[in-house]
Amino acid sequence: MLNLRDAGSHFWDRLNPIQRKIFVVVAIAFLFVVPYLNEFGPTSFLNTPIASFKDALVYPIGMFVLMALGLNIVVGKSGLLDLGYVAFFAIGAYTGAILSTTTGLNMWEILPIGIALAMLSGFILGLPTLRLRGDYLAIVTLGFGEITRIVVLNSKFTGGTNGVPNIPPPPKVGPVVFNIMNPQNYYYLIVVMILLTIWMIRRLSVRRAGRAWEAIRQDEDVAMLMGVPTLKYKLWSFTIGAAVGGAAGVVFASKVMVIAPGMFDFQVSILILACVVFGGIGNIWGVVLGATLLAYIPERIRFLTDTRQLAFGLVLVIMMNFRPDGLLPRKKREKIKEKAKETK
């Protein structure tokens, strides 16, 4: 079967530095025009029938890509199965909602607070549970996701079932205005966040943390025998993943302006995990592609109301049968000889 990942990396390898710059510029220009593709004749088939295309680009598509990248740090890099990732998204969203409606802080000021709170809860949850292996961790994180939702549902300060209304949008940055009339600007903001996240993951992956995660994922006991402080690095991947989820939450709240507990149920965790697995665990571009498709397709086929979920599920099952490692699986590295020349 066609190997998209190898085709992609061969394409990139063959480009000289100038061609690469041109490619990056073209790619960024493309990302810039994406919100207008549905208005342009030949690509108008992309239009989403019910939700406005620009809104769909922000949520679910952009948000799913961002969260899938965050979850991929946990599941794909260090091999920890987190079934409650939505909790961090919820913590970010409620931090944004509550602080922006009760204090004078704006979204830009709240963003670091939301990230910090998500990381802190990731740390507190991780410290006792990351000593556990495999299945236990999955159960505990699943429980954490549900507990977070139930707490939010039953607390006064979160508005209970009604949630938090009237969340103000972020103030403008230079000429870029954030309001209902300009959903594309939220999209651009999320693209920037996605690019920052990708940059961060790539930086970390080539460093000691990346080596440690790789070792932990392949064999945790042996990683310990090599002197890798496994608990520390598992905690790191968990809290960095939480940070991305928290950041997504803060922006989400300011975009949708009203949040309620129903937006943060278990299904979201599973969908995000499905994005990661569908795209290719551990491969950044696979995860981006997987999340884009899994968020977009249900929006695109919304006219199928009744059979929509069925069709979607069928596509997933068939796909995973043909490509069990995802659309763009991570490198298996049977032969790594070509690297020999680069390093020597």
Partner: protein
Amino acid sequence: MRLEIKDLRVFYGKIEAIKGISVVVNQGEIVTLIGANGAGKTTTLKTISGLRPVTSGSITFDGQDISKMPAHERVALGISQAPEGRGIFPGMSVLENLEIGKYFRKDRRNEMKEDLEKVYHLFPRLKERAFQAGGTLSGGEQQMLAIGRALMARPKVLLLDEPSMGLAPMMIANIFKIITEINTELGTTILLVEQNAQQALQRAHRAYVLETGKVVKEAKASDLLNDPDVRAAYLGTGANAH
């Protein structure tokens, strides 16, 4: 360097796998731990490395009690292990496997080249295969890599768990020859766990015989080679073989 295990007990849940053993490894020695399947050899090594918690008893290293110390700190003290089944990272190249053996060394940048040379000198095959994925090596090559990787940490004591497991006779002889070389030329102390008692007793200075979690014999290795009980139980030759 002195590794001392005293009255060590280790449990898996309610099952007592190690029932109060005492073992001493002195500087410069090769000490071997022999015993049948399930005797508790691997458990002993895992406990020394910190992968299994101690229920009671103590492990002291250079006079310091390390029985509560996290595993990665024990590596930094100078305890390295080539685990049972080799534990090669299948998705990393041979070179990356070796590099990660130095993970905790503060001065790894400067030591890397020298130590890689050292390992490649002991195992020239690894140099030829430096960029091959660990998972695609043959069993013998993986064992070489496991030992080489443990040496990258510049251990004071090297723990080897059944290095001969699953290897052809030629390769077994080769691995044992290199184990002696590591001991004599690099001066590394070795605690060797083996089922291949013949080879292990020929190479080691002292030996312990482990049976269902207890030390049943402790002697000079050469004495055990001629011990009728040991010959009958572990060397596959009855008392009448003389």
